[in-house]
């Protein structure tokens, strides 16, 4: 029978509704909000600032620290206990690795740039939404960047390859499911985050990466539009 129609009616390669905004947290050096359907992410950047304890400092460059956190009420099921979990620590780490290739902190020895990602509401794809928001917040903070980072989850639901799985698809039980989140540098398409859970045929990888690339290009347009909206830059400049 197969997976004929997506549960929310989207085309197989369509993303959920995207929304982006820059400069949403006044106390931060840079901040952004990114929405992928019902998954919402805030990101705020503080720094470069002094890093303590001192033994963590790197005298050759500043370090990037990422903190991914789901707000306690951000899951449809039970309350998420505050204080971090193994899952949130791992996502913080892969988020940092996703962002590192585009930023240059060599001018800030011994300093730290902190990126805080907070999710008020989630419905799958939260690490991707968080990375999209974080990349915009870093740009808003004026951190030197070579590129924007975009992220989306592709994968498979039963016999179909799809883009941007939502919760109902991640938990689809009519056939095999694979969730394959990737982060890509916006202009080169290089991959800075790659994870996969589920069952995939390796022959499907090129097609999936191509689908991700297309989606990421679209995300980058939305990110840039939001940055331009705040800074009033004309696209021809």
């Amino acid at each position: 029978m197969g997976y004929e129609k997506r549960i929310d009616g989207r085309g197989m390669e369509d993303m959920r509704g995207l929304k982006a905004k820059v400069g949403v947290i006044r106390q931060a050096e840079g901040s952004a909000y990114f929405q992928m359907g019902n998954t919402w992410a805030y990101a705020a950047v503080y720094g470069p600032r002094d890093l303590y304890p001192r033994f963590m400092q790197d005298p050759t460059k500043g370090i990037l620290r990422c903190h991914y956190n789901m707000m306690p009420f951000s899951s449809t099921g039970e309350r998420v206990r505050p204080g971090g979990s193994r899952r949130s620590k791992e996502i913080s780490m892969v988020t940092q690795k996703a962002l590192l290739p585009v930023i240059d902190l060599s001018e800030f020895p011994n300093a730290v740039v902190d990126v805080f990602i907070e999710l008020p509401q989630t419905e799958a794809g939260s690490r991707c939404a968080g990375i999209c928001a974080a990349s915009m917040a870093l740009a808003d903070a004026g951190i030197e960047m070579k590129d924007l980072v975009t992220a989306v989850s592709v994968g498979r639901v039963d016999d179909k390859l799809v883009v941007d799985l939502d919760y109902s698809e991640e938990s689809y039980d009519g056939g095999p499911v694979a969730d394959f989140p990737v982060a890509m540098l916006a202009s080169t398409g290089k991959i800075s985050l790659l994870q996969m859970d589920g069952l995939l045929d390796k022959k499907e990888i090129p097609k999936l990466l191509e689908m991700a690339r297309k989606a990421c290009t679209r995300i980058a347009e939305i990110q840039k539009a939001a940055l331009k909206e705040k800074y009033g830059v004309d696209s021809n400049e």
């Binding site: 947290i25 006044r26 919402w40 805030y42 009420f73 951000s74 805080f116 008020p120």
Partner: protein, 259 residues
């Protein structure tokens, strides 16, 4: 962004001349906005902005075993997260004393006023009651988090709907129509003393200059339900009386926003 580092003296001198840094009157709030239903994953939610300060509140519901000394009473837990995303002064890690104080003051405003009828949160005596878990997360911290959190908590409680429960499992995806048994609207207002002046709703700059503060939760008829003094200075009895008067008068102005 902010006029950096106004000294205590400067703020007091301005108040002596009848001014505040941002031109407000002593007993004037910054602009307040309140929105409910701001996250779909919570059973109830609210976003409160007071000037630049922004707080999100979310209510989650769980079924728990009642305390042995109150076998027919549901319960609440209030938790404040001073998120490091919202201010350069907040750090990651377990809640510090500031977050704990706000949690407890908000908790008492709701609990002691009997605003929420705990008895009506009983599902089965001795066995099952609803626990109402109220989380408050700061999005941007620019002063007066106490009043913002208290207001957001109340608004989220008012917005909340019980999830479907079949006696064994909660189905969070289908919300029942029943709202929570919220029978009163306690409103908390914090009055601060700077020099010899009483002000409400200090911004981040003014907050640093505060000598003492009293948070008063009160009901529509003026009944006080919880109070908390903070700050390092001692207050004369006359000061306390004056501050309570200001707080209860201001509470009635805010009540309309939730009620």
């Amino acid at each position: 962004m902010n006029e950096a580092g106004h000294s205590h003296n400067h703020i007091v001198k301005l108040l002596d001349a009848g001014f505040r840094l941002d031109g407000r009157k002593a007993e004037e709030f910054r602009e307040i906005s309140l929105e409910t239903g701001v996250t779909k994953t919570a059973e109830g939610s609210a976003r409160v902005k007071i000037g630049g300060t922004e707080v999100m509140a979310g209510v989650k519901m769980e079924v728990v075993t009642p305390y042995p000394d109150a076998p027919e009473d549901g319960t609440i837990i209030v938790n404040v997260e001073l998120m490091p995303l919202s201010s350069p002064d907040f750090e990651s890690g377990p809640p510090g004393i500031e977050a704990i104080e706000i949690s407890r003051v908000v908790d008492r405003g709701i609990r002691e006023s009997k605003a929420l009828n705990f008895r009506k949160l009983c599902i089965e005596k001795d066995k099952k009651v609803w626990a109402v878990l109220i989380d408050l997360c700061t999005i941007n911290a620019e002063g007066n988090l106490l009043d913002a959190c208290a207001l957001a908590a109340l608004a989220a409680l008012r917005d909340a709907r019980l999830p479907a429960y079949d006696g064994e499992k909660i189905d969070y995806r289908s919300k029942a129509k029943d709202s929570l048994p919220l029978e009163k609207i306690p409103i908390s207002v914090t009055v601060s003393k700077i020099g010899r002046h009483f002000i409400i709703d200090p911004d981040a700059e003014e907050e640093k200059a505060i000598g003492a503060r009293i948070t008063v939760a009160s009901l529509e008829d003026g009944t006080l339900c919880a109070m908390q003094k903070g700050g390092d200075e001692a207050l004369a009895p006359d000061d306390v009386i004056k501050m309570i008067d200001i707080a209860t008068a201001k509470a009635n102005e805010l009540r309309g926003m939730v009620g």
